[in-house]
């Protein structure tokens, strides 16, 4: 998979008012910025800086991160569902990449 693709997993169905876990795996190298031990030169990292979770176009959570999160990050966040809708994650990295991924949920 290419850098920046994601898989978002939510339960297919949920009860009204239930707190679900939105699980996601993003394909990304997540290399931190570090110094070459021999030359002392800085090697620029490549990592995701920001991730936002939307529920029906309303911002729910915002996560900032750096090179300290593992490669191909797995993240699970809670979400209280009230009506059927679209769950969207938007994420960007320090090299200007910006992607989004959606998942749908139905409510009984």
């Amino acid at each position: 998979m290419a850098t920046g693709t994601a898989i978002v997993r939510v339960p297919k169905e949920a009860q009204k008012g239930q707190v679900i876990r939105v699980q996601m795996v993003i394909t990304h190298p997540m290399t931190p910025t570090r110094r070459d031990p021999q030359t002392g030169q800085e090697i620029p990292g490549h990592y995701i800086t920001k991730l936002q979770l939307f529920y029906n176009d309303q911002l729910v959570s915002e996560m900032n991160m750096g090179g300290g999160v593992s490669a191909n990050p797995f993240i699970a966040l809670p979400l209280k569902v009230e009506s059927a809708g679209v769950i969207k994650i938007v994420y960007e990295d320090n090299k200007g990449g910006k992607w989004e991924k959606t998942a749908e949920i139905t409510v009984k």
Partner: protein, 147 residues
């Protein structure tokens, strides 16, 4: 070796042994404290540890490149502003921070982090009233994961 030289050498050796170990931990601690001060705006030792935050980490991690952590809190989500994750001895102690809103329904975060060596993992919650609380747990790392 005459007596004068011997005395001088032994004095240097004793001084070296007493000062060298004292310098290193102080430096390692100040890096985390600096980072906490920079990002949170409070001193680390002013943050109280409470039992309401449940931090789940492995006691021994085989690889430091992939340490699963889960943070849960028994505090209502509308009282919580932000969750911070720190690893004491990483080159960059700050790992991530998450902003919560009442729509989240619960304070929860699960992810995987990198750890350079055996150290403490800290989950710090910033509450709406401006106070900070935290949970700390140690993870033993057999192989580092920071480059």
């Amino acid at each position: 070796m005459d007596r004068r030289k011997f005395l001088l050498l032994s004095a240097v050796a004793v001084a070296g042994f007493t000062f060298a170990p004292a310098i290193k931990p102080a430096f390692a601690a100040s890096k985390l404290e600096e980072e906490v001060k920079k990002r949170l705006g409070v001193e680390l030792n002013a943050i109280k540890e409470i039992a309401e935050i449940k931090l789940t980490v492995p006691t021994i991690a085989e690889s430091g490149a992939n340490v699963p952590i889960t943070v849960e809190a028994d505090i209502p989500v509308d009282k919580v502003e932000r969750l911070w994750v720190f690893v004491d001895k990483n080159p960059t102690p700050w790992i991530a921070d998450v902003k919560f809103t009442p729509q989240n329904g619960q304070v929860f975060l699960s992810t995987r982090i990198k750890m350079g060596e055996t150290s403490n993992v800290r989950a710090i919650l910033q509450l709406k009233d401006g106070t900070f609380v935290m949970a700390t747990k140690e993870v033993k790392v057999t192989a580092g994961g920071c480059g």
